[in-house]
């Protein structure tokens, strides 16, 4: 196991910086990972140019899912909605900076999936792993 895991992930898990809910928001979305019960909700506020000015996440689950969400929300501040929609799995993994096996990958990608589904304005049934592949 990577030391980064201990430092970055566990630190962010224990001391989240973007945990919370936003009201009002321009969009919100939530979903869970049925394999492990991880749950993530994101709330995003954008300005007139569709630039993210404030965002937050809430939910529960393992350290990877929660810390990924925290890092992702930090990252999208100042990004346009189009930039958010264009985010990929690799972008998120770069943020995390650690190697993940296939199962933990699903934990890590949950927040990105939820965020992109919200950004695209998808319905609950339209969410699929294709969003993050």
């Amino acid at each position: 196991m990577d030391d980064l895991y201990r430092e970055l992930i566990i630190d962010r898990y224990k001391n989240p910086q973007f945990r919370g809910e936003l009201d009002p928001h321009n969009f919100t979305f939530e979903d869970d990972n049925p394999y492990c019960g991880d749950h993530i909700r994101v709330d995003v506020r954008v300005d007139d140019n569709d630039v993210v000015i404030e965002a937050a996440y809430s939910g529960e689950g393992c350290s990877i899912s929660q810390a990924s969400a925290d890092l992702l929300i930090e990252f999208i501040h100042g990004k346009t909605l189009d930039e958010v929609k264009a985010l990929t799995k690799d972008d998120l993994l770069e943020l995390l900076g650690i190697d993940l096996g296939p199962v933990r990958l699903k934990c890590a990608l949950l927040s990105l999936k939820v965020l992109k589904a919200g950004a695209y304005g998808l319905g609950k049934d339209e969410v699929s792993d294709d969003l993050v592949e």
Partner: protein, 416 residues
């Protein structure tokens, strides 16, 4: 890990370790493997690996129809494996032993062949709340197709089946009681003989999910008086890709075929066919030949150890493991006391998610599983999304339990 623990007398652990090459492996540089995930799948001894290797190097041919020497050797080896497996579970005849892919396919064979032929709208099937998805979903599929009513024997707070409620459910006149002999989450060993006796008294048939019991306990299908028993080779030292459905001959004979194709027929015309005799009627197409041979080798290995000794060994480990786990502050172990369970301990920690527990333990080479273990309804019932599960088999030692406990303390420290 180095084996310095000879306190377990049921058999010679050093000899066993020498048979399992993977146990000497380092999972990370300098970090040896401590494999505590045998409930998901067991490791394989050299004897099993070599039997399949040897088959491919010397005898490989398709079976049943061939006259040449290789085809005869292969057929004889395949059928000999069936005979040894039949003897291992005490079947009356090898014809009652059908090769499938795994426990899951075995159960689907029953729901789709026996179930479609015998169950009608409104018929009741009794399951339990502790079933693996493999003994739930096939019945749900059939229930939807046939408008069946599914009822569930509840699980008590300490992880046992509520047999009073079972007795009450039997008044609904169920046609089938399908239950796991041993829970893969709680480790609970259910009183199968009694459950079956009660079912038979009111004329219901029984299906025993033996995926966890056949590998870990002495199981005699005739002593149990079971109608169907399903299990998988990969959980009992054998290869992936092969499992067994045991069924009473008279039941199997009356059932329509499951899959159609080569080998399961006696005669074929363009628009009709006649089924073959047992067991071939249920083995369509080229079977898992090498895997059957490996499976035969696996039951030889277990029979040599003796299933009483296997059970005793695991009872010692789980007794110790429960003791040690319960002394860790905050650890919650699900399931009954050691005398009612096999070598499985699923637990949670308040400070860390099961995934995190598993990942941190992995850094020390300790392989445990984390998740719902294909038993979501049971986890829902206990109000938890996931547990970490340590499970034990013939090659595990008390010292490995100590390492697990050390690892859990590390997790607690990291997430404190």
């Amino acid at each position: 890990m180095a084996i310095t623990d000879y306190s377990i007398a049921a058999f010679d652990i050093q000899k066993i370790w020498a048979d399992f090459p993977i146990l000497s492996r380092e999972v990370h540089p300098g970090v040896p493997l401590i494999y505590l995930d045998s409930t998901a799948t067991s490791q394989k001894p050299l004897q099993v690996i070599a039997a399949m290797d040897e088959f491919y190097r010397r005898s490989n041919a398709n079976i049943h129809r061939g006259i040449h020497a290789l085809a005869e050797e292969s057929t004889a080896a395949y059928e000999s494996a069936r005979e040894r497996i039949a003897a291992f579970i005490g079947a009356a005849t090898p014809r009652e032993v059908i090769f499938t892919r795994n426990t899951t396919e075995s159960i689907n064979l029953v729901t789709q062949s026996w179930g479609r032929a015998n169950l009608n709208p409104g018929d009741v099937v009794i399951l339990t709340e502790m079933e693996h998805h493999s003994n739930l979903v096939p019945w749900q599929m059939l229930a939807q197709e046939r408008s069946l009513r599914l009822e569930f024997i509840p699980v008590t707070g300490d992880g046992l089946l509520d047999l009073d409620e079972y007795a009450r459910l039997l008044t609904l006149d169920p046609k089938m009681v399908a239950f796991t002999h041993m829970s893969n989450v709680l480790g609970t060993i259910n009183p199968a003989t009694e459950i079956i006796r009660m079912a038979h008294e009111i004329g219901a048939l029984t299906l025993v999910d033996g995926a966890q019991s056949v590998p870990h306990l002495p199981v005699d299908v005739q002593a149990l008086d079971a109608d169907f028993v399903a299990f998988s080779a990969h959980k009992m030292l054998g290869p992936s890709g092969i499992g067994i459905l045991y069924g009473r001959k008279a039941l199997l004979e009356a059932m329509p075929p499951f899959l159609g194709g080569g080998d399961m027929i006696k005669r074929v015309e363009l628009r009709s066919f006649q089924s073959n005799a047992l067991p071939y009627k249920f083995e369509a197409g080229t079977p898992a030949i090498a895997e059957a041979i490996g499976f035969g080798s696996a039951v030889d290995y277990l029979a040599d150890l003796g299933m009483e000794a296997v059970e005793q060994h695991e009872r010692q480990i789980i007794t110790y493991a429960l003791e040690r786990l319960e002394e860790i502050p905050g650890v919650k172990v699900f399931g009954p006391a050691a005398e009612h369970r096999g070598g499985v301990a699923s637990f949670t920690l308040p400070e860390a998610h099961a995934h995190d527990i598993s990942q941190i333990l992995d850094a020390d080479g300790i392989a445990v599983r984390a998740g719902h273990h294909c038993a979501m309804p049971l986890h829902t019932k206990f109000g938890i999304p996931a547990t970490a599960r340590a499970s034990f088999y013939i090659y595990n030692t008390l010292e490995e339990v100590d390492r697990l406990v050390d690892g859990i303390y590390k997790v607690k420290q990291l997430f404190a």
